[in-house]
Symmetry: C2
Subunit: 262 residues, 2 copies
């Protein structure tokens, strides 16, 4: 995959002008990418509380003022209506539209939540010299609903979703310490080893993504996954919700390496 080395501001300008509509993997030159969840103000308190109570699956990077489209904390000057390549519009929990510009759907009562994503800790694992099978093979990670409940908040409740990566047993400690530095991107693994202990029956059959290949000595390592907040929000069937389309993330101005010190 070709790497686009430009600053996120320039990438976002191309996305805003419709020149870039692809997935954002490899874009943004090592800057933090974020999941987007936009909800009406009347359920934003419950969602904010849900994220506060479940920081591993829901690491909040930014919450906009109601009606504002600018994520001033992580990307001043950006516009969340236009600066992601692709959006999904949900009504009462059902997909109603998929668009490259969310402006026609934006409302004054909307609050935008930006949540950290696994790209940042995967970068940290790779920098630490840890091999990641799905990166080497151009696949997605494997994801499952677990038997671990999130702590509920108001209308929002549901299980923690995890992503799994096979890690060489000699690298387990390094995988923990390298990812733990980034609580804003799911942090340390929430489980290492026996999948059954967290309600996963078959490692060959993920709920989302691709099954992973294990090399001899590899151990399954499970991180809390950003699919959790979207799955939980949609399960509550909110009257209205906007999210990014899978893989089409918001690129912030925060370098991956700086997220550890935010």
């Amino acid at each position: 995959m070709p790497i686009d080395p430009r600053h996120p501001r320039e990438i976002r300008r191309d996305i805003r002008n419709g020149k870039l509509t692809c997935i954002t993997a490899g874009l943004g030159a090592g800057h933090v990418q974020a999941n987007l969840a936009v909800l009406p103000r009347d359920c934003a308190y419950d969602f904010l509380l849900f994220c506060q109570r479940n920081p591993r699956p829901c690491p909040l990077l930014e919450v906009t003022d109601a009606g504002s489209t600018e994520p001033v904390g992580v990307a001043p000057g950006a516009d969340l209506r236009t600066d992601l390549p692709r959006y999904r519009i949900y009504k009462h929990g059902e997909l109603a539209d998929e668009v490259t510009d969310a402006t026609p759907y934006w409302r004054d009562d909307l609050v935008a939540f930006l949540l950290g994503c696994s790209f940042t800790f995967e970068w940290a694992l790779l920098e630490a010299g840890i091999r990641l099978w799905h990166v080497e093979h151009g696949k997605n990670v494997a994801m499952w609903r677990t038997s671990i409940p999130c702590r509920p908040a108001g209308v929002f409740h549901g299980p923690v979703v995890v992503s799994m990566r096979p890690i060489a047993s000699a690298d387990l400690s390094k995988a923990v310490t390298a990812s733990a530095r980034f609580p804003g991107a799911h942090g340390a693994p929430i489980h290492i080893g026996d999948p059954a202990a967290i309600g996963i029956r078959d490692l060959a059959r993920p709920d989302w993504g691709d099954a992973q290949e294990f090399r001899p000595g590899d151990v399954p390592v499970f991180w809390a996954c950003g699919v959790t907040p979207q799955a939980v929000a949609l399960a509550s069937k909110p009257a209205f919700m906007i999210t990014h389309s899978p893989g089409h993330m918001f690129i912030t101005d925060v370098p991956n390496s700086a997220l550890a010190a935010l």
Copy 2:
């Protein structure tokens, strides 16, 4: 000061029964103590957002469901109306009463916020072998309003308040790493050295607490302080607010050492 080695559950029972009404320093055998801020639901969203945007001065340990008095995340079975030794009742930002039992003032629309406090990172500093002048001399730390603004949220805005401790220059790195492990208790210092750089004119005249003595080679080190959220909340003159009285904290079931891994 005599140390009471009993588990927080037993201490809280004595507080609830009116047997213990003193300040909580030294109580709870190394368990995390928390600041209390209780606000009506109609301004709880703004306050939750304020804490999310200002995690160093406002490290949230627990937010109750509206109307609930039980902090299920950090002390299941406890009752926030009775389990602190002393409370302050504020109306429109003015102190209206000081009580040892907040039950008569509790309402169904109240949300309780528990915020980490400096006791935990001071414990970490002492465990790391760092001398703290105010502990050795039975004094309070020194606190100031700074020129650093909090990021505002809704009706809440104001400067970051810091506490200052003189630290030997040879111990500065250790002071950073030891406290950084505990973001739930204000985390790493937000400033080291020159007080004027953060708007502090005179180290001998703190806004709150006691002036500190410097030994040769000591450097002033500034941590974000739990006075910030209370000062900010009261400045907005909320119609109603309950806080702990200074020094009369809520003692959780979380060991100090476990806060690093929450």
